[in-house]
């Protein structure tokens, strides 16, 4: 196997490209796109994938809303966002293509490879629709290539629906000058559990696609890659979370299925037992949270993973863990809200409920993962914080991270990530289960089985010995100590570091999965002559030191978030009633800085281009003329 790319004539060198593959669901466009990404990653390209998911399990075939597939952004450098719109799209029928076009997902002048068999389809309506769409595409300047995929595939298989995707993969590998041997190996891997004949047939289809591109298309790109010198893992955010759970030394993941969190537990259900963990699928989210609490209380640290609606249901349980000072990691893979909302779509709408949810004073740590790699390490960090501070750590991810694939350096496992054996040593005489340190609020945790440590953990107000206590003083003391733990933790945090410019016109602050898109947007705006900084927060509660100071160096500050904020220019909106984005609220309250908000709730990852436009709108006019081209 050689990973070197065979240089080909006339290959246009690109720094980045966005490639979509879309089909009816069940036609395998997802597998095609993901394989394309995997091969590119193997060659050393930076990649980021975005799933294209239809709303229903089985939407009607050839429908606008039925587009199913995959977006791959392929780049020379490491990337963290799927970018803006597609530069090239492979579509298995004109309707799914139309869906993408209408949704604004095709970049102007986008290259389109479209299955051409519909042109001559038996049903004249279909043929007419095909004609209409292709006419529109040509008229609007898209670079259309009609590809007789079906016809070509039928030379190798009887049912073209089961093969087209590998043919398309071949096309893409040809167009992007990927290594054919690597591609063949990838195909063999995909079908590794299938019989040899089937594998061979799919490799044939791959080769055929490659050859067809070679012979018929005048498209040759190359996105230069740096062949990796160290091993990388390529997973999506949910698998990264699951691997993080396994590597973190946690033993229990208690969950109830919910999109988009569930796929993390799919992988865990298969693998966790091998390292001594269990996945408990509970009867509901409330039970899942309490099962995790029980497992944690018993001396391990457990995680419960869910999405918005499940997170809302766990509020009471979270308060109990805070009150009992039981370490607990809660992962919320956010989706479009409110209520059932948009289960398969992405949003960052749960931050404020993560920070302020649960009645009474229930201080907890809230953090967010910003890319796939971060999903892995954040779980490990979350468990460490949970056990050090005997508290709840809420880790926020979202649907876009859940399904995005990204290569990152293979983690070097550390023994100290794994849990120590359950402490069963005797408790010294006179020690109390809530012997709060006066300054930090911290206390040693007692674990069932430890001789001398018997006490009754309770969600009621209690004193240091965990005895129910309704006195005014002890209630204040206890609440104070639980609150202090956040301050104590906050003091362990490293000050934030501003990226881009350290002072100037605008500071852009974000959190979670928008990191890559914000970075790119900021770089583009800076290239236009503005001085713009960016700050991406890992901890949302407590906030790391240095944020206030960082803001002071800029004329304006804006939070860019994938959640709702009222537009300042909406007729009814004024400073007395404008609702801000979640992080903006937190920063305004803490630093008393007039932090502006920009966000979208389109169910899609924020695109760098959209952010760029929002930033430009917030920048002074003076440089407006300098900018323009990109």
């Amino acid at each position: 196997m050689t990973t070197a790319t065979i240089p080909r004539q006339a290959a246009t060198i690109l720094e980045r490209h966005v490639v979509d593959v879309v089909s009816d669901s069940g036609e395998g466009a997802q597998k095609c796109g993901q394989s394309f990404a995997a091969i590119a990653a193997r060659m050393g390209n930076g990649i980021w994938t975005v799933e294209i998911i239809p709303a229903e399990i089985q939407p009607p075939a050839r429908s606008i809303e039925g587009a199913s597939g995959n977006r791959t952004r392929i780049a020379t450098q490491r990337i963290r966002t799927g970018g803006d719109a597609a530069d090239l799209v492979v579509a298995f029928n004109e309707q799914v293509l139309l869906g993408r076009l209408r949704a604004g997902e095709l970049a102007p002048g986008c290259i389109v490879l479209l299955e051409s068999s519909w042109a001559t389809y038996g049903d004249p309506e279909v043929a007419a629709s095909y004609q209409a769409v292709t006419d529109e595409l040509r008229r609007d300047g898209y670079r259309l290539h009609e590809v007789p995929m079906e016809q070509e595939c039928l030379r190798y298989v009887e049912d073209a629906r089961r093969g087209k995707n590998m043919f398309a993969l071949g096309l893409l590998c040809g167009i992007y000058s990927l290594d054919l041997d690597l591609a063949r190996a990838q195909v063999r891997t995909i079908f590794s559990t299938k019989d040899a004949q089937l594998v061979a047939r799919n490799v044939q289809l791959l080769d055929a696609g490659w050859a067809w591109a070679e012979d018929n298309l005048d498209l040759r790109f190359q996105v230069p890659a740096t062949p990796p010198t160290e091993p990388h893992v390529v997973v999506n955010g949910n698998t990264a979370l699951a691997l993080g759970v396994m590597a973190s030394g946690m033993e229990v993941c208690a969950m109830y299925p919910i999109t988009p969190a569930t796929s993390a537990s799919h992988y865990l259900s298969e693998a966790f037992e091998r390292v001594g963990g269990i996945v408990h699928q509970a009867e509901d989210e409330i039970a899942a949270a309490h099962f995790a609490i029980g497992a944690s209380y018993a001396g391990t640290c457990a995680v419960t993973i869910t999405s918005g609606p499940g997170y809302s249901l766990k509020q009471e349980a979270i308060g109990l863990a805070v009150m009992g000072e039981i370490p607990l990691v809660v992962i919320d893979v956010q989706r479009g809200g409110p209520s059932t909302g948009q289960p398969t779509k992405t949003e960052q709408g749960d931050l404020l409920t993560a920070v302020f949810g649960s009645h009474g004073d229930a201080p907890k740590v809230v953090m967010a993962a910003s890319d796939v790699e971060d999903c892995f390490y954040s779980v490990i960090t979350a468990r460490r914080i949970a056990e050090t501070f005997n508290t709840v750590v809420v880790l926020l991810s979202d649907a876009s991270l859940a399904t995005a694939q990204q290569p990152f350096p293979r983690p070097e496992l550390r023994q100290d990530w794994f849990a120590a054996p359950v402490d069963q040593s005797p408790i010294p005489d006179g020690a109390a289960p809530y012997a709060w340190n006066e300054r930090t609020g911290l206390a040693r945790r007692f674990i069932p089985g430890q001789p001398g440590g018997t006490h009754c953990l309770t969600g009621l107000a209690h004193d240091r010995s965990s005895t129910v206590a309704y006195g005014p003083e002890i209630n204040q003391e206890a609440i104070r100590h639980r609150s202090l733990k956040l301050a104590a933790f906050q003091q362990t945090l490293r000050p934030v570091r501003v990226g881009g410019d350290g002072d100037g016109d605008l500071l852009v602050i974000g959190w979670g999965s928008t990191r890559g898109a914000i970075e790119e947007a900021v770089e583009r705006v800076r290239a236009g002559g503005y001085r713009v900084g960016r700050l991406h927060l890992r901890f949302l509660q407590p906030l790391a030191p240095g944020i206030g100071e960082a803001m002071a160096h800029f004329d304006r500050v804006v939070c860019v978030e994938n959640n709702w904020s009222d537009r300042a220019d909406d007729p009814l909106i004024d400073p007395d009633n404008r609702r801000f984005g979640h992080l903006a609220w937190l920063l305004r309250a803490r630093y008393l800085v007039d932090v502006d908000s920009w966000g979208q709730v389109r169910g899609q990852p924020l695109a760098p281009g959209a952010i760029e436009a929002a930033l430009r709108a917030r920048l002074p006019d003076r440089a407006a003329r300098k900018v323009g081209a990109r």
Binding site: L243, F291, I293, Y297, P448, L457
Partner: protein, 327 residues
């Protein structure tokens, strides 16, 4: 002196006083049946020589759920209705601990009903005591699912209008139910024997205990206390074996094979005679712990296996690990 099954099966007991298992003065009302149940639990702990630190009593919220505060053991006094999932979580990782669940009729049969139904199915190795006083005690006398028809409460000032939920029938309808028994707080011998049977059952041992609440429902169980003939004493050589003295005062005794589910259901459904004893037991239902055994690997082994997992997703630089292939 009562004779528990345990005492008959085991070597003579070490003479720990009962109050060794008490860590605080209980705060239940005078005459509250919770006191009697607490004593029975202490007796069980003593008779089984349970080291306090290996016992965890888990409860929800309610008068009854205060028990863990008084028992000298680890206690977990959690949220209303949620004792069962907490106990399941504890037991799943710590099968070495003896876990008791203390719950009330509101806690278990109302807000906790989904967990209750599913706990039967999971069949974790827990000993579950449902203190059924037919009311919400702690919140001061509202209707509970088991409040008898016509009984007045603060939320049913003209009397409960609905048939009370029958915890035994529900339990016997639950899939995988492996141990269902009924006791009453005023018959300590029976209560102790049944708790012992429950303790020794591997699986989810559910015991409903009729518990007196003199504060809000004085006299509720008087018909049965005053007239033992209204009780069906359910006995079996391999289950409840009342002393001769005790048996004599119960004219209505039935020898019942606890593996006979049909009969158990009919006994439970009978509104004439209140059943006391073991209604159903199936020792063969796999426990949750059987299905998900604890495996704690030495950390090197753990690391090895984790590396294997990472391998599944790893792309190796040119040449490295090429042989392995299984990427």
């Amino acid at each position: 002196m009562t004779t528990t099954l345990n005492e008959r099966l085991r070597v003579p007991v070490e003479d720990r006083p009962l109050d060794f298992y008490q860590c605080a003065i209980s705060r239940w009302c005078t005459g509250c049946g919770d006191n009697a149940i607490m004593t029975a639990v202490q007796r069980l702990c003593r008779d089984e020589h349970l080291p306090p630190e290996r016992v965890v009593s888990v409860s929800g919220i309610g008068c009854s759920s205060r028990l863990p505060h008084y028992l000298n053991s680890y206690g977990f006094h959690g949220l209303h209705g949620r004792a069962l999932p907490v106990a399941e979580g504890i037991k799943s990782r710590r099968p070495d601990l003896h876990v008791f669940v203390i719950t009330g009729d509101g806690d278990c049969c109302s807000i906790g009903a989904a967990h209750w139904l599913h706990a039967f199915r999971y069949n974790p190795d827990l000993t579950v005591l449902l203190h059924d006083n037919g009311t919400y005690g702690l919140t001061k006398h509202q209707t509970s699912p088991t409040t008898p028809l016509g009984v007045r409460t603060n939320t049913a000032p003209t009397g409960a209008a609905m048939e009370p939920l029958d915890p035994l029938s529900v339990a016997l309808g639950a899939t995988n139910a492996s141990f269902v028994a009924q006791a009453v707080d005023w018959l300590p011998e029976v209560l102790s024997q049944i708790l012992s049977l429950a303790f020794h059952h591997r699986g989810f041992a559910f015991v409903r205990i009729l518990q007196r609440c003199p504060e809000f429902l004085p006299g509720l169980f008087d018909p049965w206390i005053n007239d033992p003939a209204r009780i069906r004493l359910v006995t079996h050589d391999d289950a409840l074996t009342p002393s001769a003295g005790l048996a004599r005062s119960f004219p209505n005794r039935e020898v019942h094979d606890p593996s006979d589910l049909d009969r158990a259901r009919r006994i439970a459904a009978d509104r004439e005679l209140l059943p006391v004893g073991l209604l159903y037991r199936d020792a063969e239902v796999p426990t949750y712990e059987d299905l998900h055994p604890v495996l704690r690997l030495p950390s090197e082994r753990l690391q090895e296996r984790m590396e294997d997992e990472l391998d599944r997703f790893t792309i190796w630089p040119d040449g490295q690990r090429l042989a392995q292939g299984g990427d």
